[in-house]
């Protein structure tokens, strides 16, 4: 992402590596919203997502020198946070951490449209959580974060045909859930 007047990712990386640790704040402000959304959709919990993204950003800072393509910092950050999410999911499978937090609840003062939207979001999030982590990851990267298959391949290390297949299966599973509830 480049904003006129704002430093590019490569400039920020150079500043941080040059000793200006505070410049990493640009990275956080620029990418945390997307990373938090991605992690929330992956983990089904905002608290767990905040932990995963915070851990990922700290890890990114400490290993910034190993970011070979600073112009593609976003892809690199998503790769790190994706791995943190997988670690959280792996820990959950053997631990006693609750799988889901309560789905978003609309304020009764909200209009009918907002209530319906909140219910729809809860339904879709539940359906998403029901997918395998690989399919969930592929669907979220493709349709929520709007990445190309090439970018997804760079993040996940998977081949494009594999990712396409996962996205297709995820769509089919989600569509079935949605149809069953209409």
């Amino acid at each position: 992402m480049d904003v006129i007047g704002a430093p590019s990712d490569a400039e920020i990386v150079a500043r941080v590596l040059g000793g200006d640790a505070e410049a990493f704040g640009f990275v956080i402000r620029r990418y945390e919203a997307g990373l938090l959304r991605f992690a929330t959709r992956m983990l089904g919990s905002r608290d767990a997502a905040a932990d995963a993204v915070a851990e990922g950003l700290v890890r990114a800072y400490r290993h910034l020198a190993s970011c070979r393509e600073p112009d593609r910092l976003r892809t690199w950050l998503y790769r790190i946070v994706t791995n943190r999410c997988k670690s959280h999911l792996a820990r959950r499978s053997v631990g006693d951490v609750p799988l889901d937090e309560a789905p978003p609840v609309a304020d009764p003062a909200d209009g009918e449209a907002e209530l319906e939207r909140a219910e729809q979001l809860a339904l879709v999030q539940r359906a998403l959580t029901g997918l395998s982590p690989d399919k969930r990851e592929a669907f979220v990267l493709k349709h929520v974060e709007g990445l190309s298959y090439e970018e997804m391949a760079a993040i996940t290390g998977e081949r494009i045909p594999t990712l396409k297949m996962r996205v297709h299966r995820a769509r089919e599973a989600l569509l079935k859930v949605l149809e069953d509830h209409t």
Partner: protein, 202 residues
């Protein structure tokens, strides 16, 4: 698996114009797009900047501390020994374990856990933590900044549970811990931090 028409995938992958779809396939396409739009809405969460920057500024643990932490962490080690040696090894391991266990950290009860409090207060002269675990009494649990880098820490053994707390800086300024697991509003219009202490022994 509930397969859907491949043309729907082609449209969603940007390989086919939606106009090329028969009308009966458009509802499914729109349903998936609508679901994705819902998921793509921003997630309302607190910014992580202060939490991440505080962690970044925290000095890396020394080599000695990392080695100590590694030694104190359980690791799976597999030995292949002749049966005749196994008794001798078992006895030696038992003695070493008993000897080592006397010197490491506090002994925790079955329902106790460890809470670590960390705050960055560069100009503070003293920092204490108060909360529901000490009836909000200042002066009972002090944080330390041994290397004068402005990062104050305290490690406390507490009964497992969920506690609200705040930091008291220089004996007078009460501030929440923005690195906490979460924040909750108190009865005085302020925010308390929340820490969840899990039992070490399950």
């Amino acid at each position: 698996m509930n397969t859907i028409d491949p043309r729907i995938h082609q449209v969603l992958d940007g390989e086919l114009a939606v106009d090329a779809l028969p009308a009966e396939l458009r509802d499914a396409t729109e349903a998936i797009r609508a679901a994705a739009d819902l998921l793509a809405a921003p997630v309302p969460v607190r910014s992580l900047e202060s939490r991440v920057m505080a962690e970044i500024h925290r000095p890396a643990p020394s080599l000695a501390r990392r080695v100590s932490a590694w030694l104190a962490t359980p690791h799976a080690i597999t030995f292949r020994v002749r049966p005749v040696w196994s008794l001798a090894f078992a006895a030696a391991a038992a003695v070493l374990t008993l000897f080592y266990a006397r010197d490491v950290g506090p002994q925790l009860g079955e329902h106790e856990g460890i809470a670590q409090f960390v705050g960055r207060f560069p100009d503070a002269r003293s920092v204490h933590v108060v909360g529901t675990f000490n009836d909000w009494r200042p002066g009972t649990i002090a944080l330390q900044d041994l290397d004068n880098d402005g990062v104050w820490t305290a490690t406390v053994v507490l009964p497992a549970g969920t506690y609200e707390y705040m930091f008291v800086v220089d004996g007078e300024r009460w501030v929440p811990d923005h690195l906490a697991d979460r924040l909750v509003a108190d009865d005085f219009g302020r925010e308390n931090s929340v820490v969840i202490v899990r039992p070490v022994h399950r």
